[in-house]
């Protein structure tokens, strides 16, 4: 069964290249003002078949211990692959995780993964939620066994890799491939960068405030520099989350978390690593009134400036990305 025959495949952001092997190689397409991707595609060359396989894996709850939770359970496409309205991620048996599920987009440029940077390669990221007792709670080896016995995955792996062997390496590379295609570059900001529109006066004022106060950490055009910093927030007394300190055990990393992208904030609330703020205004009130207590915080903002800044942040919402059917649940593959 050809995996692509069952799925209408249309990726406007991707350019098809000629193939001599029957496999449909793909080159990731992105705007000229984006930097070179961090991901090394030479070690995992994109193909339509592998992306389709990765997409099926992403949406299939077979990855969890009790077949109830998929990646999309906490990374919903309609929320820019975050978990809107849930402060902390949810897992099997109604368990609640430690942190807010981050949006998944522009991952080819991301240098580390998870709020604390615990994972340093996109390929390996999926192992964390699969194995976490408060997320999917599964044994990776057992997940592969379930896929082998599933009746449909061996054929899909054959389409993608040339034979039916289902290995950890292939699983992880296919899942990474689908996530790599999640490029968000169709916002009003992007149209402005491409000369296809101009900002309204309030948006322009907000853009100037942003460039002055926010850009050092939320660096254009990805709107993050992927660094870690403390942001002056007191730790949640229940969660007791020390942030990156948990990974490096360096005192300077205590309560430090990765700078998130500001793209698609409309879809990804609540905000911060523990989802403590429901609105952008609450976030800016934390930052803008006190100047923040962290080392990388902006100047005090007047109320009007906050409104201008929020007007600019809205230009980073990318509805074309959120409603792109190529990123959604693959009904033709998994609906039965």
């Amino acid at each position: 069964m050809k995996i692509l025959r069952k799925i209408p495949f249309f990726l406007p952001l991707l350019a098809l290249l000629p193939s001599l092997t029957g496999e449909q190689p793909i080159r990731l397409s992105y705007p000229s003002y984006f930097p070179k991707p961090h991901y090394d595609f030479s070690e995992n060359r994109l193909s339509a078949e592998k992306i389709a396989l990765g997409r099926a894996l992403f949406y299939d709850p077979i990855l969890s211990k009790d077949n109830s939770i998929s990646c999309a359970s906490c990374h919903s496409p309609y929320n820019a692959f975050a978990h809107t309205d849930h402060a902390l991620s949810h897992g099997i048996y109604d368990s609640i995780g430690l942190r807010n599920a981050p949006a998944l987009l522009n991952l080819a440029w991301q240098t580390s993964f998870m709020w604390d940077g615990a994972i340093h390669h996109l390929d390996m990221q999926a192992l964390a939620p699969i194995g976490s007792p408060s997320e999917m709670g599964a044994d990776f080896k057992h997940v592969l066994q379930k896929l082998r016995a599933s009746g449909r995955y061996p054929a899909w792996f054959q389409d993608a890799f040339g034979d039916t062997a289902i290995t950890g390496e292939r699983f992880l590379k296919a899942l990474a491939q689908f996530q790599l295609t999640l490029v968000s570059a169709g916002s009003r900001y992007d149209l402005m960068r491409q000369g296809k529109t101009v900002f309204l006066p309030q948006e322009e004022r907000g853009y100037q405030i942003f460039r002055q106060s926010c850009n050092p950490c939320h660096t254009e055009p990805l709107f993050t520099n992927y660094s870690f910093s403390g942001h002056g927030l007191l730790p949640d007394p229940f969660l007791q989350d020390a942030g990156r300190y948990r990974i490096t055990q360096a005192p300077s990393d205590s309560l430090a978390f990765k700078t998130p992208t500001l793209r698609n904030l409309r879809y990804t609330y609540p905000y911060m690593h523990d989802g403590r703020f429901k609105t952008l205004r609450q976030v800016l009130d934390q930052w803008g009134d006190s100047g923040g207590a962290g080392a990388h915080t902006p100047a005090v903002l007047e109320a009007g400036q906050k409104a201008d800044l929020i007007a600019f942040l809205r230009t980073l919402n990318d509805s074309a990305f959120v409603f792109n059917p190529d990123f959604h649940f693959p009904k033709a593959l998994l609906a039965n």
């Binding site: 090394d40 070690e43 995992n44 615990a118 994972i119 340093h120 390669h121 996109l122 390929d123 390996m124 192992l127 964390a128 699969i130 194995g131 976490s132 990776f140 080896k141 592969l144 290995t167 950890g168 390496e169 292939r170 699983f171 992880l172 590379k173 990474a176 990974i247 055990q249």
Partner: protein, 240 residues
């Protein structure tokens, strides 16, 4: 002259081969000799049995080992400290429960001189930083941390009557590839030129230096993991 020597050295390196799955320089006419290195986990000189309880009379303790798995990488043969052959397969997963994995076999031209074998105990940072990999390095082998990127260099699990853990277990998942907790360790052992070299892994030495009573778990990159993997490396003894 120097170029000639380099050419001869390169030729000899190419002639060396593993009996499985590598075979370089076949049909050269050079006489080959087969060598095998066999890891033998032991307890006080006797072959260790998985799950068997062993007494530690000196401290009134007893323990059983259920899992012993470790990576070795960058295996090379040395002649007076100089590398003369670098094994082509970069990483081997040695698993006490998989007898085939306990042996390394290779063939070399009879003329190649070497007296030591060296390897890294663990997975190097270059591989650790790469993406998903297969065979011995497939994360499905259960030797990859999921909560934090990184291979477990050595996994040693079991039970000890002195353990402070709830179920009297001990779990040593020794890893770490980034400073300051780089746990990968070099092991250099004398080796016979032909036949079989047995390398005993004297586990009683490990537990005389690291007691489950004091530390039943090491599960993350840390100073204790670095120390523990060095202790484990010191348990390797060649039986010529």
């Amino acid at each position: 002259m120097r170029q000639s020597l380099a050419l001869i050295a390169c030729t000899l390196l190419l002639l060396c081969s593993f009996s499985f799955p590598f075979r370089h320089g076949a049909g050269s006419g050079e006489k080959y000799v087969l060598h095998q290195l066999r890891f033998e986990p032991t307890w006080e000189g006797v072959a260790l049995e998985i799950g068997k309880t062993y007494p530690i009379v000196a401290i009134g303790d007893s323990m059983a080992i259920n899992t012993l798995r470790f990576y070795i990488s960058h295996v090379r043969l040395l002649d007076r400290g100089r590398e003369v052959f670098d094994f082509p397969q970069q990483h081997f997963l040695v698993d006490m429960e998989d007898p085939a994995s306990l042996s390394l076999r290779w063939e070399c031209p009879e003329s190649l001189a070497y007296e030591q074998i060296a390897f890294e105990l663990g997975v190097d940072s270059l591989v650790q930083s790469a993406g998903a990999q297969g065979a011995a390095l497939d994360p499905a082998n259960g030797m990859y941390w999921s909560w934090q990127s990184g291979y477990i260099h050595v996994k040693l699990e079991g039970w000890a009557s002195s353990s402070r853990a709830r179920d009297k277990s001990f779990q040593y998942h020794l890893g770490g590839f980034q400073a300051p907790y780089t746990a990968i360790t070099t092991v250099v052992l004398p080796i016979a030129k032909t036949g079989e070299t047995r390398v005993r892994i004297a586990l009683e030495d490990f537990f005389s230096a690291l007691s489950p009573a004091d530390r039943p778990e090491i599960m993350r990159p840390c100073a204790e993991a670095v120390q523990a993997i060095r202790i484990f490396a010191d348990t390797f003894k060649t039986q010529l």
